[in-house]
Amino acid sequence: MAKSLGPVKRKFSPWTDPSAVPFIRFENITKRFGDFTAVDNLTLDIYEREFFSLLGPSGCGKTTLMRMLAGFEEPTEGRILLQGKDISGVPPYRRPTNMMFQSYALFPHMTVEKNIAFGLEQDNLPKGEIATRVEEMLKLVKLERFAKRKPNQLSGGQRQRVALARSLAKRPKVLLLDEPLGALDKKLREETQFELMDIQTELGLTFLIVTHDQEEAMTVSDRIAVMDKGIIMQVATPAEIYEAPNSRYVADFIGDINILEGTIAATASALGAPGAVRIDCDGIAVSVEQECQAVKGDKVAFAIRPEKVRISPDQPADTSANAVYGEVWDIGYLGDFSVFLVKLADGRIVRAAQANVSRLVDRPITFGDMVWLTWPVDAGLVLTR
C-alpha cells in the first residue's frame, strides 16, 4: 500500500456537493441469472469526469453491473439512467458507452489501424476524419509504428493499448474498463495505471473500471465501490476506504489489518471524553477515539493496520497508550518493511510493521524476543459491521 499515491493532482469531489447531478445512476438494480442473484437491489451514483472503480472478488457482481451499463445484459429490476435518461432497452450498439474488454477482444483479422477505425466507420464518418482520429489515437497510445500490424504480431502490452485506443476512438461519454490490466505483468501494470490516469484527465472522460486488484483500484480511482455478493459494502475515496473502512469485510479486503473481536466496555458518555470508546477484546482493554453508534455490551471488532502498531523491547513509559505484550513468533522481511508476527500469551497473533530505516545488521528485534506492542488511541478503528 505504501506505493499507492492516489490521484492527488486535482481537487475533485462532486459527490460531496448535494446539488451535483449524477452522470450515471444505477437505481435499485437487481440482476438474476436463474436462481443466482448477481446484483441485489443496488443503487449507485457516478459523476462526470470521475475515475470510478468497482472492486471485489470474482463473482461479486461487478462485471455484471458494468455489462448492464454497456447493454450486454438487461437488469431484472430497476433502471439505469445516463445523464438523466433511462437507457434500458437501448441495444449496445446505440449506447454512448464504450468498453475495453478483459480479453481485449481485438478483431484478429484486422490491422491495428482497422481495429481502431472500426467504431468510427460504424458512425459513417468521412474517410479523412476517420484517418485523423485513428492517427490521433495511435499517437495517444504511442503505437504509430504498429498501425499496419495484426493483433497476433503484438505483445500483451501493445494489445492492451490497441484495445484502449479502439474504445477511446469514438470519444464515448463513459469508458468501461473490465480488468484492463489483468493480463500485464506487475511492472508494466504499474506504469500503465499512471498512463490511464493521465489519459483520463487529458480527455476529461468518465472512466468506470472493474477490478479485483485493490492496489490498482487505490492507485487510479477518485472513488471506489467495494462489492460483495451483489451488494455495495462501501463507496468512498481510496484514502477513506483504507483509513476508515466501514466493515470487517472492507477492512480485510483492502490491505493488511489486525482484527480483534470484542465487546464495548464503556462509551463516550461513561468515559466523559467526547468520541472515546473502550473495548474489551477478550482480556485486552483497548481505548479508541472515534464517534461510534454502538452502546455498552455490543459485539464489535477492533481493527488496526500493522504499520500503525509500534514494536519495542521496552515497556512503554506512557501508561495511557494501548499496549500488549508477547513473543516474536515470525518475521517477514519485505525489503522496505518488516512484518513482525507477535504471539500473545493466549495464542492470538498481532502483526506490526516497521519501516527498515536502518541496515539489516542493526535489526534489534529477533525471533523469540519478548516485545511490547503499542498504539495511540486514534490509530485503530471500531467496526460494528
Binding site: A70, Y93, R95, A105
Partner: protein, 305 residues
C-alpha cells in the same frame, strides 16, 4: 518447437523408433503413390485387345530415350478432340460448383445455429449431424429414389396436398435436379462440421466488442463472424467440391442419360468399353484439374494441425 521434439528423450536413443515412420510411409508409397505413376504411364500407352488390355508396362529399365519414344499421347489427343469429354469435365465442374454453393447456403445457417445453441445441447447436435454419415452412402442415395420417382412419395404427397393433379407426376428423378438433391443430402455433414468447428471456436466477446462500437448484429455478422469463419468455409468447400467433381454413384443412380459427370464417363470407359488407357487418361486429367483445390485443402489441414 521442432528442436524440442527432436531431442525429446522419448524420441532419442532408439533407432527402432524410425519404424513408426517407416511402416506407414512405405505402405502409402506402395499403395497410394506408386499407383499414380502407373496410371500416368498407362494413360500414355496404346490400347491392346489382349488381357490386360494395354501394352506391357515393364520392358526392363532400358534407355530413357526408348521410354520417351514409346510415349503415346493419342489418348490425350482423343480426349481433347472429343467435345463429349470436354463437356463432361465442364459439366462436372459446373455441378460441383453449384452443389458446393448450395451446401454452403444450407450448411452455414445450420452450423451457425449449432454454434449458438446452449453448450449443453451442442454435443447432441453434432452427434445428430454425424449419425447419417455412419449409415451407408449408397443407402442414403437409394432412399431418395423411392421419394423422387415419378410414382414416388413426393408425387404422392403433393397430390394428397392438392398441389399436383391426380394424373401429374413430379419430374425430378433422372434429372440434374435429383443429382443436386442427392449431392447436397450426402455431403451436408461434411460441410456443416468444418463450419461448425470454425464458428464454435469464435470468441463471443468479439461480437460484443463490435456491438459496443456501434455495429448492429447483421452487420457484425458480415464484418466479424463471416471473415473469421473463412477457414471453415474453405475447408468445408474443398472437402465437398473435390470428391463431388469425381462423383459416380449419385449421377449414376439419380441422374438422367444427359447428366454428364466425369466419374460416370470414367466408369463407362473402364467397365463398359474396357478401354483402360483411355480411362487412365480421363483420371489423369481429372486429377490435374483437382491439383489446385487439393493443395488448398492440404494447406488448410496443415494450419489446423
Amino acid at each position: 518447437m521442432a528442436s524440442v521434439s527432436e531431442t525429446h528423450p522419448a524420441n532419442r536413443s532408439n533407432p527402432a523408433r524410425w519404424l513408426v515412420v517407416a511402416v506407414p510411409y512405405v505402405w502409402l508409397l506402395l499403395f497410394f503413390a506408386a499407383p499414380f505413376l502407373i496410371i500416368v504411364k498407362i494413360s500414355l500407352s496404346e490400347t491392346a485387345i489382349a488381357l490386360p488390355p494395354y501394352t506391357p508396362l515393364f520392358k526392363g529399365f532400358g534407355a530413357i530415350g526408348e521410354f520417351v519414344s514409346q510415349l503415346d499421347f493419342d489418348n490425350y489427343l482423343f480426349l481433347t478432340g472429343d467435345p463429349l469429354y470436354i463437356e463432361a469435365y465442364l459439366s462436372s465442374l459446373r455441378i460441383a460448383v453449384i452443389s458446393t454453393f448450395l451446401l454452403l447456403l444450407i450448411g452455414y445457417p445450420m452450423a451457425l445455429a449449432m454454434a449458438r445453441a446452449p453448450t449443453t445441447l451442442r454435443p447432441t447436435l453434432v452427434m445428430l449431424v454425424i449419425l447419417p454419415f455412419w449409415t451407408s452412402f449408397l443407402i442414403r442415395v437409394y432412399a431418395w429414389i423411392g421419394i423422387l420417382k415419378p410414382d414416388g412419395l413426393l408425387t404422392l404427397l403433393l397430390q394428397s396436398l392438392g398441389l399436383l393433379g391426380a394424373d401429374d407426376q413430379v419430374q425430378i428423378f433422372r434429372t440434374d435436379y435429383a443429382v443436386f438433391i442427392g449431392i447436397v443430402y450426402s455431403y451436408l455433414p461434411f460441410m456443416v462440421l468444418p463450419l461448425y468447428s470454425a464458428l464454435e471456436k469464435m470468441d463471443n466477446t468479439l461480437l460484443e466488442a463490435a456491438s459496443d462500437l456501434g455495429c448492429p448484429p447483421w452487420k457484425a455478422f458480415w464484418k466479424i463472424t463471416f471473415p473469421l469463419s473463412l477457414p471453415g468455409v474453405i475447408a468445408g468447400s474443398m472437402i465437398c467440391f473435390i470428391p463431388i467433381t469425381g462423383e459416380f454413384v449419385i449421377p449414376d443412380l439419380l441422374g438422367g442419360a444427359d447428366t454428364l459427370m466425369i466419374g460416370k464417363t470414367l466408369w463407362t470407359e473402364f467397365f463398359g468399353n474396357r478401354d483402360w488407357p483411355l480411362a487412365s487418361a480421363v483420371a489423369v486429367i481429372l486429377l490435374v484439374m483437382l491439383v489446385v483445390p487439393i493443395v488448398i485443402f492440404q494447406n488448410q489441414q496443415k494450419k489446423v494441425a
